[in-house]
Amino acid sequence: MKRRDFIKLAGSSAVIATSGTAVEARQSHPASPDAIGMLYDSTLCVGCQACVVKCKEVNHMAPNPEGEAQWEMNSQLSPYALNVIRRYDSGDGSVKDREQDGFAYIKRQCMHCVDPNCVSVCPVSAMTKDPVTGIVSNDPDICTGCRYCMVACPYNVPKYEYHDPFGQIQKCELCNQPGVERISNGLLPGCVEVCPTGAIIFGKRDELLAEAKRRLAMNAGDTYNYPRETLTAGREHEKAIPEYFPKVYGEHEGGGTQVLVLAGLPHEKLGLPDLPDQSYGARSETIQHTLYQGMILPFAALMGLTYLTRKNMFQADDAAEDDKDNRQNSHQNKHQNKHQNDKGNGGHHE
């Protein structure tokens, strides 16, 4: 490479560097003001599995053909189970909601993330988040089954129907997918409707977040009127405030979730990872935007490369031509030709 070329290349790298820094980090998306959600209070859950059965019924799911019939106790989420209750056990498991020698329940389902990774990574926009309700749903008519959403979901929520050659992704769509549409019709999500203790309630995300904070702020041992179904359904029951682990899971985790979780022990123990406030998807998008915003960088690089290639290629052609001549002339004048070549005769010839 000659000095002149080097300067040009350095010039285009400067373009690259400056345009690269111009892109700001992608901020976490805020929650829609009308975002709906659910609040799951693990300390109220009695592990009765009513929600699991109802979820299957509402979503027309067969009982798990691979596990033990209907009950999904401690099984994974699967294409047959969009909602499972898992049990945490430690030591002799004698006391509920205690980390040592205790047990606890956790409801696993799609968290309807505020800034969902699955939507960020879906290459064909088959995974979408409703701009108003914030419900995250999958459109099988577009989905390519690449399963990148499964890689990127921090909770391993989307499940693919491997058993079916025409299988699709299954996940909780908050009972509002075409054909079910409970939310649009003013009904409650299946799991909320049947929960006997109000462990899972439905409402607007900001109201549920306030409710969760209220519970954390109260003194353990006091009594509280716990609502069932929704905050305003008027179906309260009185119960003593337990010892809460002082965090509303989902307020900030991974950019926030619309399904919020309260528990009596650290959420990681229940399989909910401790996530940074910025979603992984936002972090990944920042990289992509830095490199590809407006395709300026690739275009600048392409221009530089085209210039160099064109130059070097036709020079190579000349060299080869010269080379052939050389051989014909029994290798005379070789150095002379090479010399000429170095001076660079840029023109193209047939």
């Binding site: 490479m1 994974q76 699967s78 990774n117 960020s120 990574v121 290459p123 064909v124 926009s125 088959a126 099988p140 008519d141 577009i142 989905c143 390519t144 089954g145 690449c146 399963r147 990148y148 499964m150 890689v151 990127a152 921090p154 391993n156 693919y160 129907e161 491997y162 058993h163 079916d164 050659p165 025409f166 299988g167 992704i169 990872p273 996530l275 998807g281 990944s284 998008e285 990289i287 992509q288 590809y292 690739p298 490369l305 085209t306 160099l308 290639t309 064109r310 070097n312 290629m313 036709f314 020079q315 190579a316 052609d317 060299a319 080869a320 080379d323 052939k324 051989r327 070789k334 047939e350």
Partner: protein, 394 residues
């Protein structure tokens, strides 16, 4: 491109023993593909709800296209850095790249559950430019077309189609420039793919913003090494019928030296700035894998003087570099990937058969095509390269 004038088909018998051996596995691969299409993924793979991506992505896509970077690495050397002496290596490398990418593409298609929806990747309004997988797939698609065009002169020459050849030669420089750029994009994306997996990737491999850099350097290391590897194999397999390209290969090691140096320094730097040394010295399987990856690519560089004098050692060095760089990608995508919730994954026999079968298809097709098409430099070129070397030194 008159520089390819001395390149001609090798000719000779087609149904040799290696061809028959690899054809057998190629056939098994086709059977697995049919089984997958008819019965679904569950009957052929061990993929599950926690491990959505197995070796068809980790090996076939990430390593397969990594090994297919030979054509790209040489395009940079010959056309961008103007190292014309590598020109004779370009065509064989392009052919291998074309196969590697085409079959990598095929394996993602087999992995896609709903492959019939694939066109949405290319339809505006559907594709999602935020998705790294979209960037990877779209860019790979264009690159496969570029490879076809770069390789087309060999076909056109073979069938004596002078006019299309002349037309193609007029704008081939633009195609080559594009071919130099595109792998930079999608090969780095193959690392970025895993940023969104976040904590599911073991801390030693989850290097966030460094992932695209590591992936890019790894791709270049694989690209240069595969040229040495294939060159040595073809030379050994065809004895005396092709020129000895050792001097060229030796000089290629100088580039590898720089790349490996950068890779190792940055990899350790990433560990250092995020305070992950404890994981390196943990003594568990991950710390050993981390150390093994670095060792496999480090020794060829440390002993570079000895390697250059010794043909078999050079070959071993190339293999070691390939294994080390491939291990990095497999570890990142599979071994260091932990979805939690008690999920496990080990590839099924059929997954392995498909992966191996795709490699077998590549080998068979490569052997057949170098016999039928003008790809390898003929013996006559030997003198020219030596002349070139002497001229360079003199």
């Amino acid at each position: 491109m008159s520089d390819h004038a001395n390149i001609r088909p090798l000719g000779g018998r087609l149904l040799t023993k290696p061809v028959i051996f690899f054809s057998f596995f190629a056939l098994l691969c086709v059977i697995v593909i049919f089984k997958r299409l008819i019965l679904g993924l569950e009957d052929v793979t061990n993929l599950n709800g926690g491990y959505p991506w197995g070796i068809w992505i980790g090996f076939d896509l990430l390593v397969g296209t990594g090994f297919a970077c030979g054509g790209w690495a040489l395009a940079w050397l010959v056309y961008v850095f103007n190292k014309g002496e590598y020109h004779p290596l370009v065509r064989p490398a392009l052919l291998a790249s074309l196969f590697g990418y085409a079959l990598g593409g095929l394996s993602i298609m087999m992995d896609m559950g709903r492959w019939w929806n694939l066109p949405y990747f290319y339809i505006p309004g559907y594709f999602n430019a935020n998705s790294v997988l979209f960037e990877t797939a779209a860019c790979m698609t264009v690159y496969i077309l570029v490879l076809v065009m770069e390789f087309a002169p060999a076909m056109l020459e073979r069938f004596g189609l002078k006019i299309p050849l002349r037309v193609l030669n007029k704008f081939l420089f633009a195609v080559i420039a594009l071919g130099a750029l595109l792998p930079t994009m999608h090969q780095s994306s193959m690392g970025s793919l895993f940023v969104s997996a976040g904590h599911k990737i073991h801390p030693l491999w989850q290097s966030w913003e460094f992932l695209p850099v590591f992936s890019l350097l790894g791709a270049l290391i694989m690209g240069c090494s595969i040229v040495i590897f294939e060159g040595a194999l073809v030379t050994a397999g065809l004895k005396q019928r092709v020129p000895d390209e050792r001097p060229l290969m030796n000089r290629l090691t100088a580039f590898i030296q720089v790349l490996v140096g950068m890779f190792i320094i940055l990899r350790l730097h990433a560990v250092n700035i995020s305070h992950k040394w404890a994981y390196v010295f943990e003594g568990d399987i991950y710390s050993w894998l981390f150390i093994a990856e670095l060792a496999l690519i480090a020794w060829p560089v440390i002993f570079i003087k000895r390697i250059r004098k010794n043909g078999p050692l050079l070959f071993m060095a190339a293999v070691s570099l390939l294994v080390g760089a491939a291990m990095y990608r497999i570890d990142l995508s599979i071994v260091a990937y932990h979805p939690g919730d008690g999920y496990q994954y080990f590839p099924s026999i059929e997954e392995v058969l498909l992966s191996f079968g795709l490699v077998a298809i590549e080998i068979v097709a490569y052997i057949l095509l170098i016999k039928l098409l003008p790809i390898l430099p003929g013996a006559a070129t030997t003198n020219r390269i030596n002349e070139f070397n002497r001229a360079e030194q003199g």
